[in-house]
Amino acid sequence: MSRIEVQEDRCKGCLLCTTVCPVNIIVQSERFNVSGYKVAEVPEADMDKCIGCASCAMICPDVAIKVYKTPKKKGDN
């Protein structure tokens, strides 16, 4: 299973990450950060769809996304 972590105080809500996600799970949240930007997030229910491709992190101009990946074990789907 993979997941991303958005550093919310750095996110400027440009939403470029939402355009490159191959599984379309990144959306704009209803939360504002301290700078007044509506931050990007992956809803809890969708996080297991993340494939850890790091496209969102590659395009993030504020380097606000960390990507974690768990190596697949033999026998896992």
Partner: protein
């Protein structure tokens, strides 16, 4: 259990300082900074790097990259970097300039530094507009593009055509590598990083001057959303500023 094996596969490179940038949402300077920072880390250059920064939105680059820096007057970064490199030839020297800085006021400096084949690298961020001063027309502004100083759109008859810098630089004798990349999508960002790596390698190997142009978005001055700005790069900028490598002497057998 799975949490235990979890690996961090993408994080901020060490050379990029952990600090919020002053750039507008969707500005591609942040991506360019990260690519440079990643390469300085991967090529183990950070400790011996002397960066020469320019005037423009990237003027505060020394706040974002954790390397020694010299701030040059507007457009003069290649001239300052020439002095820096000649005084400290064992150091890695690069300039980071925008299109208003490099292609307009600094045209003489970049042309002669490239022609002399100074052993340095140039990162040229082209967003077709003067960003910091409020969106005036730049030499790279596309025909028909509306800016604060060309409110009816740039007119070829009175204002000339946008300058294609990479092609001009590639035609000069001292240049080892000249390429144009783009920062609008993941595929192009990966290619841009390869161009930057090649340009940096040219300096390390002592083969000559390395030049990389990066097409970037400026949503604020283009009066667009960041997503529309990225689409504009694809539909308007890339057709006029073709991507690719225009000169690579490592492919041609080198210069003497």
């Amino acid at each position: 259990m799975s949490e235990m094996n979890e690996k961090l596969v993408f994080d901020k490179p060490e050379s990029v300082i952990d600090r919020a940038t002053h750039y507008c949402p969707g500005c591609h300077h942040g991506i360019a900074h990260r690519l440079v920072g990643e390469l300085l880390d991967e090529m183990n250059l950070a400790e011996k790097t002397l960066m020469t920064t320019s005037i423009g939105c990237s003027v505060f680059l020394y706040n974002y990259l954790n390397v020694d820096a010299v701030e040059a007057p507007h457009g003069r970064a290649p001239a300052v970097a020439t002095g820096v490199k000649r005084a400290r030839p064992d150091h890695f020297v690069f300039t980071y300039q925008g299109d208003g800085d490099l292609a307009s006021i600094g045209m003489a400096e970049i042309m002669h530094a490239a022609n002399r084949g100074e052993k340095m690298s140039v990162v040229f961020v082209n967003n077709t507009v003067y960003g910091m001063t409020g969106g005036q027309m730049a030499p790279t502004t596309l025909i028909g593009q509306k800016t604060t100083t060309s409110p009816a759109g740039r007119c070829q008859a009175t204002q000339g055509s946008p300058i294609r810098m990479s092609e001009i630089i590639a035609s000069l004798g001292g240049v080892a590598y000249a390429a144009r990349g783009s920062l609008d999508c993941v595929k192009n960002i990966r290619a841009a990083k390869k161009h930057l790596r090649k340009a940096f390698e040219c300096q390390i190997n002592g083969t000559g001057f390395g030049f990389v142009e990066l097409l970037s978005g400026c949503p604020t001055n283009w009066k667009m959303t960041p997503i529309q700005a990225n689409e504009r790069i694809q539909t308007e900028m890339i057709p006029y500023f073709p991507l690719g490598v225009f000169k690579d002497i490592s492919e041609e057998g080198g210069i003497c």
